[in-house]
């Protein structure tokens, strides 16, 4: 136990890498999910087919092998090596983007047909229909599964240890174990807690976004509306009026 401060200190040195890898991966995941998710809904078979190859390719192969490909094989093919952290972000994004594409596709399809028809009746263009009407409603459906996906991405970031990124897991294995071999339990115990806290932070942020998105759809009264209802008093008949 007397080594705890040092253990926490060394693991904390790995925090920036873990956080950067996770945030970078999340950002790339969001972009790829939306792009690939919408392409999966394209009316062109070719477009759908190509996107399907991406999704199935990255979902169906090992993330670790993908990482080795980008970090070790790509340099042989193109002649230069990506920075380890950058290579890691690319793999995390590509991999989780493939899962996210299915989330986006499912959420967009869950928006009632009537909403498309309402948008057509206003002569909105296909892009306007998607951007202004369908996506804002689909987002609410996407947030809970994306919360899961982002937590998985955070945990996956541990594989960056395999390509020398000094993130939390690598700090534990490569720095702490050789020096404090007797404290294995403590070292990996603290490592667990760090991931747990980071996952909790992700959930906190996602819950907040979920609340905001629901309020925007009027599914849960916004703070302003609740305040107005209180002001109207217990006998307020707001909303019942014809």
């Amino acid at each position: 136990m007397e080594n705890l401060p040092q253990i926490v200190g060394v693991l904390s040195d790995g925090l920036p890498e873990t956080v950067i890898a996770t945030l970078g991966g999340v950002l790339l995941t969001i972009i790829l999910s939306i792009v690939a998710g919408l392409l999966l809904l394209s009316s062109s078979r070719t477009v759908r087919g190509v996107t399907r190859v991406y999704v199935e390719g990255f979902r169906g192969t090992s993330e670790v092998v993908q990482l080795f490909w980008i970090y070790f094989v790509l340099p042989v093919l193109v002649g230069f090596q990506l920075l380890p952290l950058f290579a890691g972000i690319v793999v995390l994004g590509l991999n989780h983007g493939a899962y996210g594409a299915e989330i986006v596709r499912g959420a967009v399809r869950s928006v009632p047909r009537a909403q498309y028809e309402g948008a057509i009746a206003l002569s909105l263009s296909p892009a306007q229909r998607m951007r202004r009407v369908i996506l804002p409603q689909a987002v609410v459906e996407m947030l809970p599964p994306f919360n899961n996906l982002f937590i998985q991405l955070l945990k996956s970031s541990a594989i960056l240890a395999l390509i020398t990124v000094p993130e939390v897991t690598r700090q534990a294995r490569e720095v702490l174990i050789p020096n404090f071999g007797a404290d294995t339990l403590l070292i990996f115990g603290v490592t667990f807690v760090i991931y747990l806290v980071l996952a909790a932070l992700i959930t906190l942020v996602m819950r907040l976004l979920e609340r905001m998105a629901s309020a925007r759809l009027g599914r849960r009264p916004s703070r302003a509306a609740r305040a107005a209802a209180r002001a109207a008093g217990p006998t307020g008949t707001e909303g019942v009026a014809v």
Partner: protein, 262 residues
């Protein structure tokens, strides 16, 4: 109201057939509607009334024949002297002149009432936000919901939502307005208010209105013409005074009897 121009119809259905799979919903349908005319479509469910409105809103495409609105084809696009399938861009242009109000309102829940009303005018018609806001306020005043401009659609009753939907359709200043069973999803006590509003709009504008409804009293007061559909065809087409009191067909009589005595 401007004098209906009898030489140039607003809407022309010419030999229209619509199938869903092997189910023929409309067959060899011919009719025209004059500018400013109010036409109510009645008939048993499955007789193709709603499909006619959906074809006019380009939510469905017909399998045979042609449909035109304001002298322009809706079902086809004239290109190089030949009729071809319409492209999205062309359809959007024709659609601008047509508005529709749906049974289930179809308001956008991700926008406030104001957002619903200014979306089309700003993004499709190119109005400035100020102009569109002005138009929105005017129309909400007309439908009696001025104070609800910043409310969410979900905070409104069904009747209020349908009034907003009517205002949203009018904000596009359409030449043709399609009303698809607009009171069918409303609680009975809210129906009269919405029908009164539609009557006012009919009386004070020269919009061509096609209406599918089961409210026979409204159909009688509101329409210049009533078309009775059965089995995908027009069975009878007459002014309401004639059709409701002295129809030519026994089928029409039976239908009216069933609807009025339910």
């Amino acid at each position: 109201m401007s004098t209906p121009d009898t030489t140039e119809p607003m809407i022309v259905f010419d030999g229209v057939e619509k199938r869903f799979g092997s189910n023929v919903v409309l067959k060899d349908l011919h009719f025209t509607v004059a500018p400013g005319e109010h036409v109510t479509l009645i008939g048993p469910s499955g007789s193709g009334k709603t499909t006619i409105l959906r074809l006019l809103m380009t939510l469905e495409q017909c399998n045979e024949g042609t449909i035109s609105v304001g002298g322009r084809y809706l079902s086809h696009e004239m290109r190089g002297g030949k009729l071809g399938p319409p492209r999205e861009k062309y359809l959007r242009d024709v659609r601008k002149h047509i508005g529709m109000v749906f049974q289930q309102f179809n308001l956008f829940p991700n926008m406030t009432v104001r957002g619903n009303l200014i979306e089309g005018p700003t993004r499709v018609l190119g109005l400035s936000r100020d102009e569109a806001n002005g138009r929105a306020e005017e129309l909400l005043d007309l439908v009696g919901l001025k104070e609800k401009i910043d409310a969410h659609p979900t905070q409104l009753s069904g009747g209020q939502q349908q009034r907003v939907a009517i205002a949203r359709a009018l904000a596009m200043r359409p030449d043709v307005l399609l009303l698809d069973e607009v009171t069918s999803a409303l609680d009975p006590e809210l129906v009269a208010g919405v029908l009164k509003l539609l009557q006012d709009i009919g009386d004070t504008t020269d919009i061509t209105i096609l209406c599918v409804t089961h409210e026979m009293g409204f159909a009688r007061d509101f329409s210049h013409r009533v078309m009775m559909f059965d089995g995908g065809r027009v069975l009878e087409d007459a002014p309401p005074a004639k059709l409701f009191t002295d129809p030519d067909h026994q089928r029409t009589r039976d239908f009216l009897h069933a609807v009025l005595n339910h």
